[in-house]
């Protein structure tokens, strides 16, 4: 017996329905269609675009930037001990290990932001890194540890708030200029907002294994000319390590 719905057979219903469903499923993979994570009435800040974080926008990072006299972290004894024995040649950046929060946000390169309903993508020209900030209230699992951690976020008061946890121990994970490590308990909070044409962020770092209290800095990006694209970084292991031989060896 053939079942009908409004004179249309079930098979035809399913056949006709399958096309848009399949399309919706396929498009859902690349074009999310609803701002489901923005509470109704909350105005989403427009953070999307390619942003200039080079020396044109702010002082280039160094031993005193962005962590200077006014905001240098208060290190606990463990951190001071690590800092004391730190050997620059050990720094993983000399083998192309990527920068991580809170350093990668301040590296003097371009950054692209893509806002999707269920996530925000931060693509960094430096080290070709991609950070995904999940807006769908998912939680990290015990399998979600990594050098960039696991990021969740939400929109609030015309800003994007990001919380990143689940980092792995990194010998220069707080700051690679001053030899300050970060632990698996590092928690990085970021608040992104627009101020006129600029994109701004306040980055706050907590790490009870190394910091006595949270430390933070604020930075800005400038808009880039229309059509600007990020370049591939393609970190080259040979050149990354070439200058290490110029560092007087600290240990034999």
């Amino acid at each position: 017996m053939r079942r009908t719905f409004g004179g249309v057979t079930l098979g035809r219903w399913l056949g006709v329905g399958a096309v848009p469903i399949a399309l919706a499923v396929a498009l859902g993979q690349v074009l999310p269609t609803a701002h489901a994570q923005a509470p109704s009435g909350v105005k989403l800040p427009d953070l999307a675009g390619v942003w200039d974080g080079t020396g044109r926008a702010r002082p280039v990072n160094s031993e005193k930037v962005p962590w200077g006299p006014s905001n240098f972290p208060v290190l606990n004894e463990r951190a001071l001990a690590y800092q004391k024995v730190f050997d620059e040649a050990l720094s993983p950046k000399y083998d192309c290990q990527p920068a991580t929060p809170p350093a990668i946000e301040y590296d003097p390169y371009l950054m692209e932001v893509v806002q999707w309903p269920d996530r925000v993508l931060f693509r960094y020209e430096k080290d070709d890194q991609l950070r995904t900030v999940w807006l769908d209230e998912r939680k990290p699992t015990s399998h979600d540890y990594g050098i960039q951690g696991f990021s969740v976020g939400r929109y609030e008061s015309n800003a994007l708030l990001v919380e990143t946890t689940n980092f792995v121990f990194d010998v220069t994970g707080f700051d690679d200029y001053n030899g300050i490590p970060s632990s698996q308990l590092k928690r990085v909070l970021e608040r992104y907002w627009r101020e006129g044409e600029e994109l701004k962020v306040t980055v706050t770092v907590e790490d009870p294994l190394f910091l006595r209290r949270p430390a933070s800095y604020t930075a800005r990006w400038l808009p880039t000319p229309k059509g600007t694209k990020l370049q591939a970084f393609d970190c080259d292991p040979e050149t990354a390590r070439l200058s290490v031989k110029f560092i007087p060896p600290r240990y034999k």
Partner: protein
């Protein structure tokens, strides 16, 4: 090829010139590898150029005062940053004879330079024009 190496406490004189190729890509602290309280000058023939990230390098062959061959390794910025500043691969190519001034490397006996300013033999600067930077 003559080599002149002048080391002295003249960091201020080296304060990044217009054409200096400082490692502003901020991959690492140059203070660990280079001594900004000193300056160095070298002249020689470019033998190899690595336009790469996180840093580019130019290798220069010259001879020291004793007539011994010396290879200088000149550290530049990230190539992605250099191109954005107007640098092209043609500006520094193997076979060119250049003069380099900059900050010397720290390790004893090493021949490294950073914060480099390049010039041709006639003294004319090599690099993007001021407007391109």
């Amino acid at each position: 090829m003559n080599v002149r190496q002048r080391l002295g406490a003249v960091a201020s004189a080296l304060a990044i010139g217009v054409l200096a190729v400082a490692p502003v890509s901020a991959h690492h602290s140059s203070a660990e590898a280079y001594d900004s309280s000193k300056s160095v000058e070298a002249q020689g023939t470019i033998t190899r150029v690595l336009f790469k990230n996180p840093h580019s390098f130019v290798f220069l062959e010259s001879t020291d005062a004793q007539g011994q061959k010396v290879e200088w390794q000149v550290e530049l910025g990230a190539f992605s940053s250099m191109t954005r500043s107007g640098w092209t691969k043609e500006m520094l190519a193997p076979g060119m004879v250049v003069k380099v001034t900059g900050i010397p490397s720290r390790a004893p006996g090493s021949h490294g330079i950073t914060n480099a300013k390049f010039a041709k033999q006639d003294g004319s600067p090599i690099g993007p024009s001021r407007s391109a930077q």
